[in-house]
Symmetry: C2
Subunit: 208 residues, 2 copies
């Protein structure tokens, strides 16, 4: 972590800004105002200015942000200026869908390694990736892979997490319903699909 | 919405509490302390007490919460005391994985309807569900389905969302990368897998 006291919510919005910048219609202008950026992202413009101010102010009052410069700036903050390779652990239904997911490309992140414990799947080649057994996780540090995606049953998640951490993984996207215990220097981002869906009925009219 | 000023973060934790209560080892005790509940969920106990206090205090000081009563209470708050049927829109890789996802059962939510625009998939039967064409979304209100899961390309998401809202859907789990514009009485919960993964490199050591 190279910046201090930046809220996770701000970091969370930066990739959204980045995607917004990438899709901003090229109308000949080189700059974008915080209001235009806010409009694309459906947030308020003071929010955009506050988020970006954490990293030094690169906007020009009355003009806005230079699109190319801001894009580069956000990529640098997020360390997305180089391609990151990620390891997928678990080639079940969700894992298979994640491997085919096209939404990572914008962010220069690519799944290039897949681990599975099911012997029937180990050795199979999908998208030019040979599925490896989970014990091979220990080789991740040698391969320079620091990001992992966990799409395995909850019961196995802590054990696999420990293996990933021992192999030098510093960031885990956790699709299991388990809390993962990790050292302070490892970041876990949880996507709990069941919990997200379970919140919706609360917001429905009574008896819906 | 039947309670006022309850933060979304609190609502978001209630299904996690519920899952924790369901998996709490039955050691003969009928009650659970806020500390025990906090421990299971890896939050602080004042957080648990504060979250639950929004809905009237049902704990007993020095004793804790009656497990059965609290489970029933949370189910009632979340409107999860009856089975909810949900419609899945999009039977691509992610949609197919979501249909097989086993994490919804704890919460009494069941996908029983699937819509797709690809004519090659329409009519196919998966898990006893006949895939229907997207134009049939209009019949959702007649079927009493108020929850939908969106797993389609971003470009089509607003159009399908409008159809869902017109059909009386009040809660949408959005897996697309698009912002969905909906009336104030409709709740959207976003799961942006790409953005979640794109945040991780920020937390890695420089140059990792």
């Amino acid at each position: 972590m190279r910046y201090h006291k930046v809220p996770d919510e701000t970091i969370r919005r930066l990739p959204v800004y980045l995607r917004g910048l990438c899709s901003f219609p090229n109308n000949g202008s080189h700059s974008i105002s915080s209001q235009q950026l806010a409009d694309i992202l459906h947030v308020k413009s003071p929010q955009v200015r506050k988020d970006l101010s954490y990293f030094g102010d690169i906007g020009t009052p009355g003009v806005g942000y230079d699109i190319q410069k801001l894009t580069k700036h956000i990529r640098a903050i997020l360390q997305l200026n180089n391609v990151h390779c990620a390891a997928l652990v678990g080639y079940g239904n969700l894992g298979a869908a994640l491997l085919k997911y096209t939404g990572f490309g914008t962010f220069c992140i690519e799944i290039n390694t897949v681990f599975e414990k099911d012997p029937r799947k180990i050795g199979r080649v999908v998208r030019n990736i040979k599925i490896e057994e989970v014990s091979k996780i220990s080789s991740l540090s040698k391969r320079g892979i620091s990001i992992a995606i966990l799409a395995i049953p909850a019961a196995e998640s802590q054990d696999v997490t420990d293996k990933l951490v021992n192999a030098g993984v510093g960031g885990i996207l956790n699709f299991t319903s388990s809390y993962l215990s990790v050292p302070a220097n490892v970041k876990v981002i949880n996507i709990d699909i069941g919990v997200s869906l379970a919140c919706l009925p609360y917001y429905l009219p009574v008896g819906a």
